[in-house]
Symmetry: C2
Subunit: 160 residues, 2 copies
DNA sequence: ATAATTGCAAAGTCTTTGCAGTTTG
DNA sequence: CAAACTGCAAAGACTTTGCAATTAT
């Protein structure tokens, strides 16, 4: 119950001039627990409230904003109406492959778009920002049984 | 004042079993007028209301939804909190290059990601959906004078 | 102590929905 | 005429903001 990952994030917070509060620790704990998950602000509120009923929305947003400024957390707009957040592990940037069927998010290597970046720069004079892309498509699992009409677990991973 | 592009879209609406109303004509006219612009629902409301003060939000959303179903219009989530819509010209799909500095949107050829699609399919078993990507970066104009602190015209194109 | 942070409540933006009246084909 | 569509009003999801009370350093 003294997860090094949690402490690492909290340390960065303090280094950045921030203060260490109960609420912040719980937010970070929730994010570390749900590791490679992509949580919405609402997901985090729900989780933290289980232990701390007074925990409030505004705190999540303010804290996530701080953490994002410090580069510890990354906000990603996967779908309309739902910004998800995840921890940035070290310098490990990555792109997101979002399955439009089941909502699964695959984290793809940051050099995936290197070749494309060159191409785009040459053709459009556009400097592609690394590791910021969300690519839509269909994951392998969904692709295999795409003729069946099973109950799509849409939003897998962060729907309540 | 009988723009063939407008008629073309309205024809498709009718073919799809839809009805031709004053509101719908005006919505389409607004979109054609702002051609390669990417308009938010709010932008459209604002434009149409100038001629037709009773025009209502809900109508835009319902109409855009229909048009999107018919494949005539495409909704794109460029930034958090702002779904933009644009007409789909024929079979001309494209990706979006969004400048994070000035908000300009460049429409990139749909085959831009072909090579990437192969790569992603092989590495992650993920079937990339064509022409659905929004790539972030910096456009050439912004890139050139990036040391100066000029008033960034952020949101260019669809901010009121 | 004092500056940061929180809970709370209120508001803001964007979007959706139900319904009764109106209009289209 | 019947079905489709509209305006309106109300509500819903997500996020932001002001403020007074609380808490970390």
């Amino acid at each position: 119950m003294r997860d090094p990952k949690v402490e690492q994030v909290l340390d960065r917070l303090r280094e950045g001039g921030g203060r260490l509060t109960r609420a912040r620790r719980q937010i970070v704990e929730a994010m570390v627990a749900g590791d490679h998950r992509h949580l919405t602000a609402g997901d985090i509120v729900e989780i933290v409230r289980r232990r701390d009923p007074d925990f409030h929305e505004s705190t999540v947003y303010r804290t996530l904003e701080r953490l994002a400024e410090l580069g510890v957390v990354r906000p990603v707009q996967l779908t309309p109406g739902a910004t998800v957040f995840h921890l940035v592990e070290g310098p490990h940037l990555h792109h997101h492959l979002l399955c439009d069927r089941c909502g699964t998010v695959i984290e793809a290597s940051d050099d995936l778009l290197d070749a494309l970046a060159v191409e785009v720069g040459r053709t459009y004079g556009f400097a592609l920002q690394s590791a910021a892309a969300t690519l839509h498509g269909v994951c392998s699992a969904c692709h295999e049984h795409h003729e069946h009409d099973h109950s799509h677990d849409h939003g897998a991973g962060h729907r309540h």
